[in-house]
Symmetry: C2
Subunit: 208 residues, 2 copies
DNA sequence: CCGGCGGGTCTACGGTGCAGACTCCGCGGG
DNA sequence: CCCGCGGAGTCTGCACCGTAGACCCGCCGG
């Protein structure tokens, strides 16, 4: 089988998304995806060359869920919408969000989200030479932020900082001590918006 | 075995780092780590509760490799050093860099890197209320950037953008087309430095 | 002497991704 | 009408995985 079938690809990706949401990405296996569809594991190999290929397919699917802001909007509004949309997608599919980092874009369609950011930056007046770098800066931050959020990186460090420290005392962590107890939960909504505004000042400065 | 042994923990982590570097993180197994040390797989379970526990140990080890800039340096210099150090660590251990995102800090020692950033921000004059947010902003960007770099996210998208596009023409990607062909390789050294300077303007602004 | 304990071992179970060879069915052309 | 063929799906089997549970041995304090 050189050429892959396409008919049921999206159906398979959908089943994989469900399973990952229910039992976690590590528990996702070809066997259980197949079982959910009433197929044998080997049937999937007509649609995807390997498990890795299926994971790529999931990542590509996530990219198609990103919003495409109307092009008559203010470019900064569009950037905010793109960032918020990316965050929303990751929060809807937390189990597979990590794939966006680890499975570098495979299909040409994956260029579309970057294209939208390019357009917004150009429309904002950013010089052409700076556009690709700022796109990478913004997408990297957004990706990193939402991944930290869904993987619990922020939550883990605040929990740790609040816990009774046995190994390290205030003398070892003077700044932590001086800042006092952190709030239980970081308000990710507000913080994301604030961070984004700060980053948009960079864009503004580049646009002069 | 309730309490874990500690004597050979770092030796085991070292072997795991070697294996991951040679054959990739997905190929890392308890069996092959044990084999490298001339042990049976089950011997490792005296030192780590599970494979996940071992991966946490690897992530924690990476954190210990981060630099601790001399505290009499200019706070911005310290931030640059911390960021560059993190990038250096990730580039030295590309196969396991992803663990920094997916294995949220486990031990108290993991607070030390954040502590250094806190101190630099405070010394720079950032108000206390803003320090934790800016620390998260900076660390998230740095982590995201180096992960994108070592996982090939940047390289993949530029390669894709340069390739003969069959599915999408210039009409679908006007901004890509207008920006013309990208360079073959992003100069990550220069770009990282530039991005960092841009982010430090945010810190500067917060310090007023 | 002896009991525990830290080090390491062996066996076994249920799971994994996937190669290779196979069966079945619908359909278009001679 | 039959034939062949290609797509869809199946079956078997292999090599490997994480790890539970039982075990063995040498040292060391009482």
């Amino acid at each position: 089988m050189r050429r892959l079938k396409t008919a049921r690809r999206s159906e398979i990706v959908g089943a994989a998304l469900e399973l990952a949401a229910e039992r976690g990405l590590p528990a996702l296996s070809m066997r259980c995806v197949a079982a959910r569809l009433g197929l044998t594991p080997m049937a999937l190999y007509g649609y995807f060359r390997s498990k890795d290929d299926l994971l790529d397919g999931i990542a590509a699917h996530l990219l198609t869920l990103l919003p495409a802001p109307a092009s008559d909007l203010d470019p900064f509004t569009r950037l905010r919408e793109l960032a918020g949309g990316a965050r929303a997608v990751a929060r809807e599919h937390p189990a597979v969000a990590g794939l966006l980092f680890t499975r570098p874009v495979a299909s040409e369609r994956s260029l579309l989200p970057a294209e939208r950011v390019y357009r917004a930056l150009l429309d904002a007046g950013v010089p052409e030479a700076e556009v690709p770098r700022l796109e990478r800066l913004l997408s990297t931050f957004v990706l990193g932020y939402v991944l930290s959020e869904v993987e619990g990186r922020f939550a883990a460090s605040t929990r740790l900082a609040r816990s009774r420290r046995v190994e390290l005392g205030p003398a070892d962590l003077p700044a932590h001590h001086r800042l006092g107890p952190l709030p239980h939960h970081v308000d990710c909504d507000a913080e994301f918006a604030e961070d984004l505004e700060d980053l948009l000042t960079i864009v503004e400065a580049a646009a002069k």
